[in-house]
């Protein structure tokens, strides 16, 4: 069991200089506790991948700090990063990124070997892990012979082989159909809960929210509060529930943009289509 905490403080990333500079991540803070599953959502281009790359020591922030259990990994020299990546992080990618020339077993064992395990030990450990993940029959297959779900399970085994504190996954279900995608998400949740790993998942897939302990919404490089939206039944404007004028009728709660609309609603009759679906969208 790991007790490592990842602590991201005021982290920013700017690509390029001057006129053409892009601020991909803008002063983001976040702490991830052991055993926690954090889901970072947001539209395409909002900076999710950039943030995850910085959390995994693959990319240096242009501002702010990232600490892993007290060590400021964002300040480490290039030479010390491979060891951190190898032992503290497990990565899972949308494209699986398995090594095409190696068998399933070798893909997983080699990461243990890179961390110093002997060939025999590495292979035994990889075989055990893969078997646990239901790939016992596929050990000698080449990645090209596997289905998408199988490839992602190999990638998960590879991410776990060195017992890392954190699993970082970027759009892990984007190339999978929704049933397999859900299986993979449940697997990741299981890993967090049973093995005490922290799991950070980046996705824009709404269907996987239910496995997360915490959902964060990233937009234009910064976290926004997740607010619940409703539609004013009178003027049909989108309103934030938390700030709206509300009223009860027949055991239902309604949200309005103004007292005027509420009064009109309470005074008149309920239209047939008054039960507008509530949508959850993010606003500033």
């Amino acid at each position: 069991m790991s007790t490592l905490t990842l602590d991201v403080r005021e982290v920013s990333k700017r690509f390029g200089d001057g006129e053409t500079a892009v601020k991909a991540v803008d002063s983001v803070s976040l702490a991830v506790e052991p055993g926690e599953v954090v889901l970072i959502m947001g539209p395409s281009g909002s900076g999710k991948t950039t943030l995850l790359s910085m959390m995994g020591a693959l990319l240096r922030p242009t501002g702010g700090t990232i600490h892993l259990d007290g060590t400021e990994i964002s300040a480490l020299t290039e030479g010390r990063l491979p060891d951190i990546r190898l032992r503290q992080f497990g990565f899972i990618f949308q494209d699986f990124n398995l090594l095409s020339a190696l068998s399933v077993l070798e893909n997983v064992a080699i990461v243990a070997e890179l961390a110093g395990a002997g060939s025999r030990v590495a292979r035994d450990k990889a075989a055990a892990l893969l078997t646990e993940l239901g790939l016992g029959e596929r050990l000698d297959f080449l990645p090209e012979k596997l289905s998408g779900g199988e490839k992602q399970r190999v990638a998960i085994a590879r991410a776990l082989i060195n017992d890392p504190a954190l699993i970082l996954a970027d759009e892990p279900t984007a190339n999978l159909d929704s049933k397999i995608g859900h299986e993979i998400m449940r697997l990741l949740r299981g890993i967090a809960k049973e093995r005490g790993r922290s799991v950070v998942i980046v996705s824009h897939d709404q269907r996987i929210r239910d496995i997360a302990d915490r959902v964060l919404w990233l937009e234009d490089g910064a976290f926004r509060d997740v607010v619940t939206m409703a539609t004013d039944p009178v003027c049909e404007m989108a309103v934030e529930r938390e700030r709206a004028v509300r009223a009860e009728r027949d055991g239902e709660t309604y949200f309005f943009c103004s007292r005027g609309c509420r009064d009109e609603f309470l005074g008149g009759t309920l239209p047939d289509d008054s039960r507008h679906p509530r949508s959850e969208i993010a606003v500033r």
């Binding site: 693959l58 990546r85 949308q94 494209d95 990124n97 090594l99 095409s100 020339a101 890179l114």
Partner: protein, 376 residues
């Protein structure tokens, strides 16, 4: 096997065509050098056969004469007694020698013509397959290969040193790519030279207790106007002459082989690295150090070159076997020196071929793993 070795081996063998091109190219390039070396070594062996097999421990020639090929050596006949008088000399036989042509019908061939005294104990043919090993006046012993090509046999006549001579014996092992050795009587040879009392070389056998080196030195200092050398020195001089004559050709072929081998390996390893650029990025993201990845590239180069070297060696060996069977006056001899040279070549090729791919790998950004692209 190490992680590096595994990655290198897999990335070579999973693309068989590229590996075959790589190994084949290196094999071809290296066997160019190996085969040429072997041919020259073979030719040198043949050219020194007479010196090596004549039976003399020390060769005494005109002052300054250090080898046999294309030289003229004339000594007064009186030196023979002078040589015999030197302590440590057990036996001495004078011979006359000239590079000439022998002809039979339309067939003409270059030959070392040797004039042998009737009582010669050295300098004669060492492997007579048919007829006599002794030549009298008007007689000649020729190489059996020459006889076959010229269509003559025992009893037929050939022309040597401008005179007719009757074949009395056929010898073996007395031909090279360039020439053969023919034996005539000393008296005939002397007569053809106008009867002057001269000899070309005095072949010396040293006493059992004496050293060739010491006897050669003693002859050199006690007999005026001669150069005396041990058989091995004389043979080495002869060999060096061949190698000097062929040095330019060998250098050119070596350079061609080196450049072709380098180009093939460099290109195939570079292409292989480029094709797996993303996977090198994945390995970096997973925590592989640059050094590990450099070793993967180096191992690929070295494995390709080593396989190419072995295939090239096998090919040259096969060529030597085929040539030996083909009945050509040609022999291929693969020497240790040549193997070491080509081995060093190979190592340098593998090292140089890795430079560009290593630069490629070092510049790969591990963050590529999150960019979309074709991957397994």
């Amino acid at each position: 096997m190490s992680a590096e070795g595994l990655l290198a081996r897999r990335s070579l063998t999973r693309n068989r065509v590229r590996f075959a091109v790589s190994v084949g190219g290196v094999a071809l390039a290296l066997s160019l050098t190996l085969a040429l070396d072997a041919i020259y070594a073979g030719v040198a062996n043949q050219l020194t056969t007479y010196v090596d097999r004549a039976g003399a421990d020390v060769w005494v020639g005109q002052a300054g004469v250090r080898n046999l090929h294309m030289v003229a050596s004339w000594l007064p006949a009186s030196v023979v007694e002078g040589v015999r008088a030197v302590p440590g000399v057990a036996d001495a036989t004078p011979i006359l020698y000239s590079t000439d042509t022998i002809s039979a019908g339309n067939e003409r061939a270059v030959a070392y013509v040797v004039g042998l005294p009737a009582d010669a104990t050295m300098g004669g043919p060492w492997d007579v397959v048919e007829g006599s090993a002794r030549v009298g006046r008007g007689e000649i012993i020729v190489d059996q290969g020459f006889a076959r090509t010229a269509g003559v046999s025992i009893g037929d006549t050939v022309t040597a040193l401008g005179r007719q001579a009757r074949i009395v014996g056929l010898s073996q092992g007395t031909a090279s790519l360039v020439n053969s050795v023919a034996f005539v009587s000393f008296d005939d040879f002397q007569a053809m030279r106008g009867g002057a009392p001269v000899v070309s070389f005095v072949l010396v056998k040293v006493a059992p207790a004496a050293s060739s080196q010491a006897v050669a030195a003693a002859i050199g200092s006690e007999v005026p106007g001669v150069t005396a050398q041990t058989r091995s020195d004389f043979s080495t001089q002869e060999r060096r002459l061949v190698m000097d004559m062929s040095a330019d050709v060998i250098s050119i072929i070596n350079a061609v082989g080196f450049v072709v081998g380098l180009a093939v390996v460099a290109l195939t390893v570079y292409v292989a690295t480029l094709a797996r650029r993303r996977e090198y990025g994945v390995l970096k993201a997973l925590g592989a150090r640059n050094g590990v990845l450099y070793r993967v590239v180096l191992a690929q180069s070295f494995l390709s070159v080593a396989a190419g070297f072995l295939v090239g060696l096998a090919f040259t060996g096969l060529l030597a076997f085929v040539v030996a069977r083909a009945g050509l006056n040609l022999e291929l001899s693969i020497s240790a020196a040549s193997l070491i040279k080509v081995g060093l070549f190979s190592a340098v090729i593998a090292g140089l071929a890795s430079i560009l791919p290593i630069r490629q790998v070092s510049s790969v950004d591990p963050a590529v793993v999150f960019r979309r692209g074709a991957a397994a």
